[in-house]
């Protein structure tokens, strides 16, 4: 990678352990300015832990044992707590799945947005409220002057998520981490929030790290996708290339198990047999081995590195040349 296109956010070899098991294992990815990187995977794949680690928000039971998280020139993971607190909200922000659970029920939304701003900038209360009002407008809340003085319970779920986005963006962070931001919302509201996030990326050049399990959301908003399985990146690629030519058996099966326009109604959908291994029994080799139709002895014994299949498209599979068979069999 040349100096010219140095990424804004770069995660190197991130490893997180819970009770001695590596629940996130050697995860690396980079996000360019104004780019949306989606981390995709099923429950327990480590995508949420990875996102919390970006902000140093890991739960007490989890420990980062290796790796770095660089935002421009700063290694966030190495910052002392005080400096990290300064960076949170100002340089990198996060929004969660359930907006009503993240908002303070006893404070007006205006006060909550203003508080976020006053944590980082020496502005008067009045000035902060005025900027909170403009932010409400920016995230598409109608009648911002009235809404400013309302409490979360007076707003719908979609509005609360807009408030969360307003709080996250009031200090103009360069990276927004969004952990399943639309999962709890209805589809028409989801479409509004995704459009809002796309607009913010375009207008402000904010980079987004999006955590999701929904391939439709990925297709809608992501530029790059990292597919995670059992704590590791299985495949990472530009979004079009990933959907058109998946190069990891897990991705291929995941895509084939989503009902699509070109699959006959009530036809049998592709499934992934078996279960995700628990962190205790990951074994030496590829963690997908037990569920993989292409698995061989080598897969069981030796963890495949991320091979560069095509420019920017990397996959951790010994049998990557045969993944097309899975896609064809599923079709």
């Amino acid at each position: 990678m040349s100096a010219a296109d140095r990424p804004l956010l770069s995660v190197e070899d991130l490893t997180i352990e819970i009770a001695g098991a590596s629940v996130v294992d050697g995860v690396s990815f980079a996000v360019q300015p104004g780019e949306v990187m989606a981390l995709v995977g099923e429950s327990g794949c480590g995508k949420s832990l990875t996102s919390y680690a970006l902000l140093g928000l890991l739960p007490d039971v989890a420990e980062r044992t290796a790796g770095s998280v660089r935002l421009a020139d700063t290694d966030l993971a190495a910052l002392p707590p005080r400096r990290l607190r300064k960076a949170r909200g100002k340089d990198i922000s996060i929004i969660f799945q359930e907006p009503s659970a993240s908002l303070d029920p006893l404070a007006t939304v205006g006060a909550q947005i203003a508080e976020a701003l006053r944590q980082h900038e020496a502005v008067s209360r009045r000035e902060a409220l005025a900027r909170a009002r403009d932010m409400l407008e920016a995230v598409g809340i109608p009648d911002p002057d009235r809404r400013l003085h309302q409490y979360p319970f007076e707003l719908s779920g979609g509005m609360c998520q807009r408030i969360m986005i307003a709080i996250a963006l009031i200090c103009g962070p360069r990276v927004l981490v969004a952990d399943e931001p639309t999962t709890a919302l209805d589809v028409t509201i989801q479409a509004q929030i995704l459009d809002l996030m796309k607009r913010l990326v375009a207008e402000r050049g904010t980079s987004i790290v999006l955590i999701t399990h929904d391939m439709g959301v990925v297709a809608d908003i992501a530029d790059h996708v990292a597919v995670m399985y059992a704590g590791r990146i299985a495949e990472i690629a530009p979004v079009d290339d990933l959907f058109a030519r998946p190069a990891h058996p897990y991705t291929a099966l995941l895509l084939a198990s989503v009902p699509r326009l070109d699959v006959a109604p009530k036809a049998t959908l592709a499934t992934i047999e078996g279960l995700v291994p628990s962190p205790g029994d990951f074994g030496e080799g590829c963690r997908f081995t037990d569920r993989c139709p292409l698995a061989s002895e080598r897969c069981r014994a030796e963890q495949p590195p991320l091979f560069e299949e095509r420019p920017g498209h990397r996959t951790a599979c010994w049998h990557r040349d045969r993944v097309g068979e899975i896609a064809r069999a599923a079709a």
Binding site: G158, Q190, G216, A219, D220, S257, V258, P259, R260, I272
Partner: protein, 326 residues
């Protein structure tokens, strides 16, 4: 609509309203019209999908159909037997024929009962089987849903979410019901597991002829599993059509908005899609707009929509739509 096949569910003009009665403390709260005059017929071996967003009344309607929520108005017949106004004994008999599956299997299972006891309960309560025969039936049901007979001695916490949903399905099918109401049965499951449960529901229907009322907000799942689709908005049906017609030629502006809002799992298709994004939020069912309930968010709305509520009217291709302009 195909005419063959016996009618399993025949619901007419069902309405469910909440509140509105005056209380000890002065002014009565506004009446919430959760379901507001719905007709719905389901036949044997048929899957009817009920689609809509939070607050559209789909869950209230499902509860009314299985007899958990007495309707304010209307009639609901399961295999010709009236649910509305049925006494405890009659309702008990009817419940043999209609079962329900909920979204979160962890909340639907007793954590302290073995899987075997859970699946056996409907059979033993109704004295359908006992002793060795009961054991044999439980083993058969577990096998049918893709579990193993020896799983009967285990507890829910020893299973994954997908396996738990299989247990719930086994229990629902124990009495060979004519209709199973599935309320978002795969929404809480991971994608790969979701496919397993959908495959299972389809297989079981082919084998037993059970009918499903499939409540869902996920149109890609609906397109896969439904024979007929019903869209609800603020307590009323706004569109109803056979699957092919529904997805090929959606008519109601709300249906079209829903379809364009669901992101397609294909970036090329998704980018090319014509977006039809709705403005604003769902009005409260306690304060339903006059005229067409959708007119406050509808891009096609005109004066007539504000004053007159459109009736559900049949179209040449068999669809029924409630819109002045579609």
């Amino acid at each position: 609509m195909s005419e063959e096949g016996e009618t399993v569910l025949d619901a007419r003009d069902v309405a469910v309203h909440f509140g509105g009665r005056s209380t000890l403390f002065g002014r009565p709260p506004a009446t919430v019209r959760a379901v507001n005059g719905v007709d719905l017929v389901i036949r044997r071996s048929e899957t009817v999908a009920l689609v809509g967003e939070s607050g559209c009344g789909k869950s209230t309607l499902s509860n009314a159909i299985v007899g958990l929520q007495p309707p304010t108005r209307g009639s609901i017949a399961i295999k010709g037997r009236q649910v509305v106004g049925a006494g405890r004994r009659a309702l008990n008999e009817i419940r043999r024929d209609v079962q329900m599956i909920f979204q979160d299997p962890a909340l639907s299972l007793d954590p302290r009962a073995t899987i075997g006891a859970t699946v056996a309960e409907p059979l033993s309560v109704r004295a359908v089987a006992r002793g060795g025969e009961l054991k044999r039936r439980v083993a058969e049901l577990l096998t049918q849903v893709g579990l193993r007979p020896e799983h009967a001695t285990r507890y829910p916490h020893q299973f994954s979410g997908g396996q738990r949903q299989r247990v719930v399905i086994a229990r629902a099918l124990a009495l060979e019901p004519a209709l199973v109401v599935c309320d978002e049965p795969v929404s809480a499951l991971d994608v790969s597991v979701r496919a397993q449960i959908l495959n299972l529901l389809v297989t079981l229907q082919k084998r037993t002829g059970v009918a499903y009322l499939f409540v869902s907000h996920d149109l890609s799942v609906v397109r896969h599993i439904a024979d007929r689709v019903v869209v609800m908005y603020l307590g009323r049906i706004v569109e109803e059509a056979e699957r092919e017609v529904f997805f090929a030629a959606p008519k109601h502006p709300y249906t079209r908005a829903l379809m364009s809002a669901v992101p397609e799992a294909d970036p090329v298709v998704q980018r090319a899609k014509q977006r039809f994004v709705l403005k604003g939020e769902l009005p409260s069912p306690a304060n339903i707009p006059p005229g067409c309930p959708f007119h406050t968010r509808c891009p096609l709305a005109t004066e007539i929509c504000v004053s007159d509520r459109p009736e559900l009217t049949p179209r040449p291709d068999g669809a029924r739509v409630a819109c002045h302009h579609a």
